[in-house]
Symmetry: C2
Subunit: 149 residues, 2 copies
DNA sequence: CCTGAATATTTCAGGTTGTCAAACAACCGG
DNA sequence: CCGGTTGTTTGACAACCTGAAATATTCAGG
């Protein structure tokens, strides 16, 4: 009787699945709130914070930035403009292809990004309230969700 | 020795916590993508879809809408304006207080919201790939995260 | 080498979201 | 009745986002 996963048909979800969906929605909402708030503390918008965080890992051409952020390249132009005006990012020419401009975080940009990462409390603090077993279970379930698609 | 949760200090998170944070970030990103895409299929923006979904549960005064959406009331005015122009929402006078206007979903609005909810596949389809035990574990961990704050 | 297609970036126009301050109407306590 | 508070809207402004057009550069073929 333990056997068959009780067919959580995605068209007729069972109550358990519905509750999990509800909970995920709440987590998503809180995560966003927290992210925007952390960005605002550094006088950044959410979009600016995301872009700066990306560049903090490695410099990227404008085109790739747009792909990572899932938006149009013309949009990235403006965001980089504003970050560049504040000295957090700079455009560098690509020696291999004079069409492309590589955006890179400046030293100050990296400093701000690090500070921002540290003020991102949600998804870390509440995790501290979980036992190791729960965290392992959470990890496995999340892996399953992301891998299943 | 079972006692103390192995101190996942939020300033020096262990690798397990870091991975979970990473996974949550991915889930949040996918959830948002999916939500925006589902909204776009119905020619709605994310904000419009969220507001319409709220009104689909119960009519709400503008003020409360702003609280639920965590934004300024003046912002809600515009979003309701656009939804009202499309006949998905209507403003009704509150007989008890002539200052307040209650926004309510129209029949068409409810129809669109239902259709939207059904096209929201992420957070439901991948869940189907989890065993019942995993879904229970996920539920408990999420509850713990949300409650712990 | 030259031409034309393709690519990377920017610019521009237009729409949506969001804030803040100010206006306005209606409520309410004294 | 009066003054302060509350709910909604309006206006000005900034950021985000898209789509189309302009520009510069690369690259493949003839």
């Amino acid at each position: 009787m333990v056997s068959t996963t009780p067919t959580p048909d995605s068209r007729h979800p069972d109550p358990l699945t519905l509750e999990v969906v509800e909970l995920i929605g709440e987590v998503v909402a809180r995560f966003h709130e927290d992210y925007e708030a952390a960005a605002a503390e550094h006088s950044l918008t959410g979009a600016q914070a995301r872009l700066l965080s990306l560049l903090c890992l490695e410099p990227l051409p404008m085109r790739r930035l747009a792909q990572r952020l899932k938006c149009e390249p013309s949009n990235v132009t403006g965001i980089v403009d504003r970050l560049e005006a504040r000295g957090l990012v700079e455009r560098q020419p690509d020696p291999a292809d004079r069409r492309v401009k590589v955006a890179a975080a400046t030293g100050e940009g990296r400093r701000v990004a690090r500070s921002l990462r540290e003020s991102l409390r949600f998804a870390r603090e509440p995790l501290a309230g979980l036992s190791e077993g729960e965290r392992v279970a959470l990890r496995d379930a999340l892996r399953g969700m992301l891998g299943a698609v």
